[in-house]
């Protein structure tokens, strides 16, 4: 009885994970559209974030949950483990990567245009920021 209920909960969670994966795929497509529509590197970074968090992190969690509950072990555990570890790494490394590339681009002379204000460029011209 209890195991039946647990199996049912697992099935429901797995299906929710699948739906999350589908939503993530749609997010990724929207991010790709954003890449096409935005004309500026710094704006595209926001589309990248949609693609990374909405389009990679959440689908990986969803697919991992699906694999955990709906695929027979040990293979299901294997896929779930790979998905979760990948999701963890994406969550901590992707923002650092975007930050690094944004900083490098700003230092290499790519300016956000149009922009209402660019305090970083101003501060670096004034010499307060190295």
């Amino acid at each position: 009885m209890v195991t039946d209920a647990l199996t049912l909960i697992g099935q429901v969670l797995g299906c929710l994970g699948l739906v999350l994966a589908l939503v993530g795929a749609v997010n990724d497509l929207i991010a790709a559209i954003g890449f096409v529509r935005f004309k500026n590197f710094y704006l595209r970074l926001h589309a990248l974030t949609v693609g990374v968090i909405g389009g990679t992190f959440y689908p990986l969690i969803g697919l991992g949950t699906y694999a955990l509950f709906c695929i027979a072990p040990p293979l299901g555990y294997y896929v779930a483990g790979v998905s979760y570890v990948t999701a963890f790494f994406v969550l901590i490394t992707a923002p650092a990567g975007s930050h690094a590339i944004a900083r490098g681009a700003h230092r290499a002379g790519y300016r956000p245009e149009p922009a209402r204000e660019d305090k970083l460029a101003k501060d670096r011209e004034e010499g307060v920021m190295e």
């Binding site: 997010n27 710094y42 970074l45 969550l91 650092a96 149009p114 204000e117 305090k119 307060v128």
Partner: protein, 169 residues
């Protein structure tokens, strides 16, 4: 003592990652992963953790869990919907600016948590950071204000409060 403590913390982290990655919990894997994790932790734990006593404080973990759940559901969903609306609307309504946001934490992990939280919410990206004057330069897709404190209230105040609870003190 501190060194052994940090090695132990890193050992637990690495063992956890090893077991999750391999997807098994059988004794042989625990032993093999434990040996590998112990070697790596003994060689390079001082890079990662400097004050291991912080890790064993349950209040920090409670704050971390509350923050993680809130961040990964409410905040992310709101930011995603906002940016997706901007991408899909025909007029492409953006009003970008690089604003300067002060912060008041000093721990490396706290700074990284704030910066990664800002970058991971669509709509704001940390472009540069000045650790001496304690400013972050954030590219904001819809700059409601360019004042330092106003931007802080809009973008990073919540993250900062939680980061203080988790890592500082």
């Amino acid at each position: 003592m501190s060194k052994a403590g940090s090695a132990f913390v890193v050992f637990l982290l690495l063992l956890g990652i090893y077991l999750v990655y391999t997807g098994t919990t059988n004794p042989v894997d625990v032993i093999a992963g434990g040996v590998a994790a112990a070697v790596i932790a003994a060689l390079s734990a001082d890079l990662v953790v400097s004050k291991p006593s912080k890790v064993f404080d349950p209040r920090r973990w409670v704050a971390f869990v509350i923050y993680a759940v809130k961040y990964l559901t409410v905040i992310e969903a709101r930011a995603h919907l906002d940016v997706i609306r901007r991408i899909l609307s025909p007029s492409l309504p953006v009003d970008p600016a690089i604003v300067r946001i002060p912060y008041a934490v000093s721990d490396d992990y706290a700074i990284t948590t704030i910066a990664n939280s800002i970058t991971n919410t669509p709509g704001t990206v940390v472009v540069d950071i000045d650790t001496e004057r304690k400013y972050m330069y954030v590219h904001w897709i819809d700059a409601k204000t360019t004042e330092d404190e106003g931007a802080r209230a809009h973008v990073s105040e919540e993250f900062e409060n939680y980061a203080k609870l988790i890592f500082e003190g």
